[in-house]
């Protein structure tokens, strides 16, 4: 009577089209020159997507490229190259992988041979953002500019009111929005200078409108995962986030979620879940995944554990829930959307002493998606996310006494941090804890 190992029942077939998106984004950078387009090294969730799309600027997503290198387990040579110039492994490995690649490309005069999917083109500009999400967004462009000194860098500062339980963020939101709007206007001016083209404001407005529609559709789609059994898992979401995260403001991104939503609705209708049987539902509560070990999600699924929801790469909300002031200025709209995305958990957090917006978000999802436990991934080189995980876990324990929490340790790109046997051992122990918790709850 050996324990039966059950395989993952189903992954979404819509997610199978994601490699085409990722590869398409990389090859767009390589084709840009012959198409007369400019390439901008850019960062996700920086509020600049629509500006680039409306000006036909091709984004070169360094985070995506490093993730691809990691997923193909082919990042080590780039990490070592960066390390040879004293970039520590404890720095963001998205950054160091990409900087190592840039260093090699500059030395060779072309993308290094064997670079995943042909690599990324040399940018014509770099758009950073000194916002509160993470420090590489302004230090990374500065660092890589040492090797590409002729490539201009423009770093905006898109701040949002920092969390202060004793203050009223509503009083200062408009000030932050005004500042963010000015920064976005400066970004447009910079892009106009580099491209030699003027912004088509009507086109920008249409692009922003399409983005809003995509945000709404994304949430409508993902909320289908509340269903028991859940039709889609975080393992898939780490792929299906691509159109929202890297192709926002494009029709292809919107169309992708139309297809995904239809597929999830059909799965619900057919009673098809990710795991069969679905024993435990847990939230991916924080952290970027180890891109070289996405198979771990299937390991969970094979044991009846599903992730109906994740905090990671859910960088949007239903626009109406953000209660944005009406404006005809698309940049002001982006600024409001940006600020409110971060602050709309503040009021809930204030009601729970000792809580924070990040914790409130997790609690909201645990309730809405009916989760039995939480998994955090502490990726050592992602300092901005690593910091605070223990506090979040401790607050969850206060709210949901004894809720099982697993804190996985690894990295996003650096595979030397990973040991599959030990990781699976921790997962097994966590699942046994879930069983005890559920039995106790009755």
């Amino acid at each position: 009577m050996a324990e039966e190992k059950k395989g993952r029942a189903v992954a979404t077939s819509t997610a199978a089209s994601i490699p085409k998106f990722v590869r398409g984004n990389l090859s767009a950078t390589l084709k840009a020159k012959e198409e007369g387009k400019k390439v901008a090294a850019a960062f996700i969730a920086d509020g600049q997507d629509e500006i680039m799309r409306a000006m036909d600027i091709v984004p070169a997503w360094g985070e995506s490229f490093s993730g691809v290198c990691a997923a193909k387990r082919d990042a080590e040579k780039y990490l070592q190259k960066a390390e040879s110039d004293n970039f520590s492994r404890s720095l963001c490995t998205y950054a160091t992988c990409n900087i190592g690649f840039d260093m090699m490309r500059e030395e060779l005069g072309h993308a290094p041979e064997g670079a995943p999917w042909g690599g990324m083109a040399r940018p014509d500009m770099m758009l950073g953002n000194g916002q509160l999400l993470c420090d590489p967004r302004f230090k990374w462009p500065q660092a890589t500019q040492h090797y590409q000194q002729d490539v201009p860098v423009f770093v905006t500062n898109m701040y949002y009111p920092p969390w202060d339980p004793s203050g009223d963020h509503h009083e200062v939101e408009a000030l932050y929005v005004k500042y963010a709007k000015e920064e976005l206007h400066e970004t447009v001016k910079f892009c106009e200078k580099i491209t030699g083209k003027k912004m088509d404001w009507d086109r920008l407005a249409a692009t922003v409108e399409l983005s809003d529609k995509t945000w709404d559709l994304f949430i409508d789609t993902y909320e289908l995962r509340k269903h028991h059994p859940t039709p889609m898992d975080t393992g898939d979401a780490m792929n299906t986030m691509v159109p929202l995260t890297f192709n926002l403001g494009t029709q292809e991104a919107y169309d992708f979620y139309v297809s995904l939503k239809a597929e999830l609705e059909q799965k619900i209708k057919d009673g098809v879940g990710v795991a069969n049987p679905e024993k435990y539902r847990v939230i991916w509560a924080a952290g970027l995944p180890s891109w070289f070990a996405l198979g771990d999600f299937q390991y969970f699924n094979g044991k009846g554990v599903v992730f109906p929801v994740e905090v990671t790469y859910r960088g949007c909300e239903k626009v109406e829930r953000l209660d944005l002031p009406k404006t005809n200025d698309p940049l002001e709209h982006i600024a409001w959307r940006w600020v409110r995305y971060w602050t709309h958990w503040y009021d809930a957090a204030k009601k729970r002493p000792g809580s924070t917006p990040k914790v409130e978000r997790i609690i909201e999802y645990i309730e809405d998606y009916d989760c039995d436990g939480a998994v955090f991934h502490s990726a050592f080189s992602c300092r901005s996310w690593h910091a605070g995980i223990m506090q979040q876990a401790a607050t969850l324990k206060k709210v949901y006494k004894d809720i099982p929490i697993l804190i996985m340790e690894g990295d996003i790109v650096d595979i030397s941090s990973y040991n599959e046997a030990d990781t699976h051992n921790r997962i097994d122990a966590f699942i046994e804890t879930l069983a005890a918790y559920k039995a106790k709850k009755g």
């Binding site: 223990m390 004894d402 040991n419 030990d422």
Partner: protein
């Protein structure tokens, strides 16, 4: 009479416990790269000690790092759960377990024999038995003596390095400056205890606290850990077999649960043979 066996294959030692209403036999043998595929031989010895045959066993649970290499087991359960179960039977008052193994260390919060939470260090040798093993080797002191030697120290010589390799280098250079070995060994125990305590304290530690694993056989480490938690720590009579005992008891629980539902599991087709994993 029903007999239940627990097989705990740790990174350093393999442990087998057979229980019925009491512990019928317990055996501890080295794991090692070749021994790991020979869990069957340790089991044979344990069966011999209990005067039983393999067919007398009703249910077998494998646990520990190498639990997948036990083809004759009916079920695999992690050592976290098995330690909790084993501890509950030996020291029922314990609510927090610190397990110091050869390759990792763990903190386990338990309630009525169930795991409520756990933390693990499996990333770094510092804070595990391996750290003490390496330092003992570099000092030329037998591993089983370092605990007692640390108690003879005049003072704790602080060891600043948190990395095993660098700590070894630091120890050698401190020896050259005339620092007594006992002080250095006390320093090393303090360093390991500090590291383990900072990890375990994430668990909202509640007494009683017990230490298990090979580290519990080191009186110096147990005392150093006790000082970090401000209380005396409990040690079961044979701290190495807690996991295997828990595995055997888990097997008993599982079997009885099945039996109560009228689904007695059979062991037909199970043979006491080595794992073919390495072939």
């Amino acid at each position: 009479m029903d007999y239940f066996a627990g097989v705990d294959i740790g990174s350093t030692m393999t442990k087998v416990v057979i229980v019925s209403g009491r512990i019928e036999s317990s055996l501890i043998g080295p794991t090692g790269p070749e021994h790991r595929k020979l869990a069957n031989r340790v089991m044979e010895e344990a069966l011999g000690q209990a005067r039983l045959s393999f067919d007398d066993l009703t249910y077998i649970v494998a646990t520990g790092y190498g639990r997948i290499n036990v083809p004759f087991a009916d079920r695999q359960i992690t050592e976290i759960t098995c330690h909790a179960k084993g501890l509950q039977s030996l020291l029922p008052s314990v609510k927090t377990v610190i397990d110091v193994g050869g390759q990792d260390s763990k903190g386990i919060k338990i309630l009525n024999g169930k795991v409520m939470n756990f933390v693990m260090n499996d990333k770094c040798a510092a804070g595990t038995g391996r750290f003490l093993e390496i330092i003992a080797d570099s000092l030329g002191v037998p591993l089983d003596k370092i605990g007692e030697i640390s108690l003879t120290a005049e003072k704790i010589a602080p060891v600043s390095s948190t990395c095993t390799v660098f700590a070894e280098a630091e120890i050698i250079s401190r020896l050259a400056t005339g620092e007594p070995i006992a002080n250095l060994i006390a320093g090393i125990h303090d360093a390991v205890a500090t590291r383990i305590a900072s990890m375990v304290k994430k668990l909202n530690v509640e007494p009683d606290i017990a230490v298990t694993g090979g580290g519990a056989k080191n009186i110096g480490l147990v005392k150093a850990l006790g000082s970090k938690f401000g209380r005396e720590l409990l040690v079961p009579p044979e701290p190495l077999i807690t996991g295997a005992l828990g595995a055997a008891l888990m097997g008993k629980d599982i079997y009885e649960k099945y039996a109560a539902e009228g689904q007695k599991p059979t062991r037909i087709g199970k043979k006491l043979e080595e794992a073919t994993f390495f072939k």
